[in-house]
Amino acid sequence: MALNILVVDDSSTMRRIIARTLGMSGLPIGDVHEALNGAEALEILAKKSVDLALLDLNMPIMGGLEALEQIRQNQSTRDLPVVVVSTEGSEPRIERVKELSAGFVRKPFAPENLVKAIVIAIGGRANDNA
């Protein structure tokens, strides 16, 4: 079964890099939705079937940490695997992110590190065929 993934980043360049990484990952990728900030991400999660979110932190309108807290408070999304992909370097903030998410990948990242974090986040679904 294909994985529907939500990519949340205000940088169009980073969204393209992530989309390319997903395309070359060998994982069964289905729909890739894009959001430019946390508020857009929450709107998409309310409407679409999403299996995994890749979430930046520093974004205008609503940042990733606030969005992540809302995802965890919402019954329909509280179990959604979320991998945070960010330049964040503050250790206390990274610890908070790790408490709420399934993984943290720091930018710049090697493609294999992002794929590895996704595989860990989705568990056994990585072995499913598209």
Binding site: S12, T87, G89, K107
Partner: protein, 145 residues
């Protein structure tokens, strides 16, 4: 001896390598005369506030954008977006190393600025020139912070 300038140069070089597959030699004595530069700025706030300014030779920027996007050809818009993301990632990686890994900074969205603004005077925390002056990075502290 590690200085703020050498730390900024090392962080910037690492970001260029990992994000754009571009290996650079730090060159603090570089001259940029005659080079047409594209410039971006990222503001930040936290324990102190300021901005990072990144200026890149436009010809080199096109190459970096192609590497970053894994594309054979890129548009001017691609180059602009690549510069914005480069500035964002450089700033996010440099601040913890120049300040502290326990400090939390909020980065604003990067923006394109004029080359003349990139040369603006300010309280320079760190400065680095890479690749014979084709890439320049300055970290500036707001006077009031």
């Amino acid at each position: 001896m590690t200085t703020p300038d050498s730390t900024l140069a090392a962080v910037s070089a690492r970001v260029l390598e990992e994000l754009c597959f571009h290996w650079v030699d730090p060159d603090s004595s570089a001259h940029t005369g005659g080079i047409e530069l594209a410039c971006a700025s990222v503001g930040f706030s936290g324990p102190w506030s300021g901005r990072m300014v990144v200026a890149i030779d436009k010809g080199l920027l096109s190459e970096l954008a192609a590497n970053l996007l894994g594309a054979d050809e890129t548009s001017e818009g691609d180059s602009t977006q690549a510069l914005l993301e480069l500035a964002n990632v450089m700033c996010g990686n440099a601040l913890p190393e120049l300040d502290s890994v326990t400090s939390a900074f909020e980065l604003s969205s990067p923006e394109i600025i004029d080359a003349s603004s990139a040369q603006a005077a300010g309280s320079v925390v760190a400065s680095a020139a890479l690749d014979g002056g084709k890439i320049m990075i300055r970290l500036l502290r707001d006077p009031a912070s």
